[in-house]
Symmetry: C2
DNA sequence: CAATTGACCGGAAACGTTTACGTGTTAAGT
DNA sequence: ACTTAACACGTAAACGTTTCCGGTCAATTG
């Protein structure tokens, strides 16, 4: 049994479809009596208007796409939560897609989102190549990058100051007396590049030159601890490990435990994201707060502004990172 | 500029809309030459078919709704991830809505999902009252409950054996010599009721009678530690705390730390869900694995089956819980 | 050579909305 | 009493697809 339609409502109370529509939309060309009749009929048969038909007519779906790597990463859960809070109040809904850090899946998801005619899009792009965004621009759907920028294309984005994130980590670790620092980095995104750059440059400024063996890029879908093991097995003796994100830092914590290293006595660990749980790990994790939830909020606000005023200029927000010192360093 | 339409494609290569549609859908009533022409034109103008129009025509949207309390709870992140894995392969997409454990928001989200004409729905219902599900049945959209059942209505669901979860916790804690156990419970769901029942009944069977003061229900949107503090301030001296879920257990861990209790020496703590992070907390958390990801998988599989064969009987899956002993008990 | 077939393609209806336009009724204004 | 405006409502077109039905044209058949 197909869902009830406007025609059903109209037939049931003996008016035309147009009148039924007007009554339900609170337009004023309907007499109070007929309006009551229509509302009653609609309620009785459980009528729910079709967003499909509405969207086809109006050209807007009231759906915004959110394309992230995976919702299992609490960082993105925070971001999405922030987005949802903002857009809900404006009558928008979220269509959630995941790329799992794979270019192909990202592209497929993008196709889906375009087919669904999302009014706008917030995404954490996988690759720094501009293909995906060019496609968006071609189809001119408004979009905002979140968490990661793509430098080769002009767009709106909300990111943390990633160079500074790397620099802050370096400064903090140097201050604690570390100069053999292993950088466990993510692949395929510009934030990772910037953090690395900020990190290495700051180390160098303080006279610490780290060769490429001190930087490990974790293959996607692999536990970061194996990158650590790889480094250890190559004979590296790091006094500290700096991770691209807390997720990786947690995995490193697990790896160190597995190999019976004490943190922070044998090896210090720090991450980025300040996930809720990092306050409760063993030991509590030193990390850098990059305002996850706020990122979601701001990106959604920018997108909404673009939807309301299509001629809005691109907006870039760079949130300041903040060191959260705990016991892992 | 509105997105390109089939008519645009057709006009561009001088064929009818019907032919263009046939060419793009790989139907065989088109000559190879025209097909090539159409595909080329479609590619050139960046044509993306409209799911709205397609859905209006076909009566199915290839979207399934997922309605949970909040994606910030890693338990649901795991569940959603499992759902996504299954439905993606069958060409379905996820429309994610959150109820934030509020009946009103749940109802509003449901309206949205019905308006969007989702083909099916997977939900973790907030309340045990059947209003929401009756609405679903009235609109006859196939649905599957996940994580929580609603006993008053017949439906498909995938849950853990929640009575047993409570019983297992009780047995484990008794075995460790605890008989002053504080139960930090969730409100507004049947799983919570069952776990409590299993817990209390098992305690009683072993001669431990716990009065109502030993059961605290955490108000929604409140840190569980305040429920702990309340109990402590009432003069209770629990030797162990059993929490409805790991999220709460983590909050309790925080609260105990705040009040300088040592875990497990002063107070033991255990939770439910076996979240990834619980292996790395201080101390590593004893918990009960209820197969979060698997729940998502199974619920999605049931829903897909219902979509393929609408006459399918209701299916109920009760997954066996498994104790994961760590150092917090 | 006429009739039949088949390949290929266009016209048009349908899905469920919303709104511009037209029409009929009624009350107010002269 | 006649015009006019306001009001209430219906008709129909449009949004972008897909498919049914029919038509054209060339090739095959007798």
């Amino acid at each position: 049994m197909a869902p009830a339609t406007l025609k059903d409502v109209a037939k049931r109370c003996g008016v035309s479809v147009a009148t039924a529509s007007r009554a339900l939309n609170n337009r004023n060309e309907v007499s109070p009596a007929t309006r009551a009749k229509v509302l009653k009929a609609a309620d009785e048969i459980g009528y729910v208007p079709s967003s499909l038909a509405k969207g086809l007519w109006s050209g807007e779906t009231k759906v915004i796409g959110v394309l992230i790597t995976t919702i299992e990463n609490p960082f993105y859960a925070n971001v999405v939560s922030g987005i949802e809070k903002v857009v809900k109040d404006h009558g928008y809904n979220i269509l959630l897609c995941s790329s799992y850090e794979e270019v192909q899946q990202e592209f497929a998801a993008l196709t889906v989102l375009l087919e669904q005619r999302v009014d706008g899009l917030i995404l954490a792009p996988v690759q720094s190549k501009p293909e995906v965004l060019e496609r968006l621009q071609k189809n001119n759907v408004p979009f905002v990058l979140v968490g990661r920028n793509i430098p080769s294309i002009e767009s709106s984005y909300v990111v943390s100051d990633d160079f500074k994130v790397g620099a802050m980590a370096a400064e903090h670790l140097l201050q604690q007396g570390h100069n053999r620092v292993l950088f466990i980095n993510s692949s395929r995104n510009y934030s990772a590049e910037l953090r690395l750059k900020g990190f290495l440059q700051t180390m160098r400024q303080h006279g610490v030159e780290l060769g490429p063996e001190w930087v490990k890029t974790v293959p996607v879908h692999q536990d970061a601890k194996y990158s650590l093991f790889e480094a250890l097995d190559q004979g590296l003796k790091p006094s500290a490990v700096f991770c691209f994100c807390d997720c990786m830092a947690l995995e490193i914590l697990g790896g160190l435990k597995e190999r019976s290293f004490k943190v922070p006595e044998d090896v210090a660990v720090m991450g980025v994201d300040n996930l809720n749980v990092t306050a409760l790990t063993d030991p509590p994790l030193t990390t850098i707060d990059i305002q996850n939830y706020e990122m979601g909020i701001r990106s959604a606000e920018i997108l909404l502004k673009k939807l309301q005023e299509p001629e809005t200029q691109h907006m870039q927000i760079i949130l300041p990172p903040k060191l959260v010192k705990r016991n892992s360093t």
